[in-house]
Amino acid sequence: MARRTVEPVLWLLFSAGGVASAMVLPVVVFLFALAIPLGWIPAPDGAALLRLVGHPLTALVLLGVCVLSLFHWAQRFRYTLSDGLKLKHHQRTINTAVYVLTVLGSAAAGVALWDAMTARSG
């Protein structure tokens, strides 16, 4: 019965995560994974970039994007495994593993952004 009531919430998180990841992640990956490391744009000074990233508002937005994106992944991935790869008989294991990873990832995001916030004002 509990699974019946939590499903709609998970779909809502999937939806919100889909929007958040679609809007924000492409430009973020372009910048931080490609443009800056490969020197397409001059690498911003670490302290200056930290002033932006560690700003409470930025940190909050990034935390939201990270957590929602992970929940988006969680829903899509567990359905891919059970429906796409037909691993339905392992559903409970899949669900547990996926959500443990989601929580761990969200915690990691929280820690990193907290570190950025304290380092910025430190």
């Binding site: 809007m23 924000v24 492409p26 911003p44 990270c66 899509r76």
Partner: protein, 136 residues
């Protein structure tokens, strides 16, 4: 999927479905690729978290992270990631009109206006982030 009660004792016939069903048709494959994009969304989050952590660590960890990010395998992975993120964003926005039905009076706003607005929003958010980072 939930079955109606009593179905378990009389399952009937179920046509066996291959594990590779998604290779059968182009639209199935595109669907499967869309679903796989979620993995790259998760990777992007991990990468972003690592990036933020390196920034918080100071100039040396930040530079070390950038050097690692510039290595060929990581670049290749991240190029692939960007491709899948774009696939996700475009297919997601194109589906928005199906989920967001706006009526003005009795007339329905055309789907292309809905998705057009979403694309414009995407462009605006991207431009904002670009500007915020480049001016730093």
């Amino acid at each position: 999927m939930n079955r109606p009660p009593g179905r378990m004792s009389h399952p009937g016939y179920r046509r066996p479905m291959s594990r590779w069903w998604w290779l059968g048709k182009r639209s199935y494959t595109l669907f499967a690729l869309r679903e796989v994009s979620a993995v790259f969304v998760a990777w992007s989050v991990l990468f972003l978290v690592a990036f933020v952590e390196s920034l918080a660590g100071g100039e040396a960890p930040y530079q070390a992270f950038l050097d690692w990010a510039a290595t060929p395998w990581v670049v290749a992975l991240n190029v692939l990631t960007l491709v899948f993120l774009l696939l996700h964003a475009v297919t997601w926005i194109n589906l928005t009109p199906a989920a967001v039905v706006v009526k003005v009076g009795r007339r329905r706003v055309p789907p292309r206006v809905i998705s057009g607005s979403a694309f414009a929003g995407w462009a605006a958010v991207s431009a904002l982030v670009l500007w915020l980072v480049v001016r730093v």
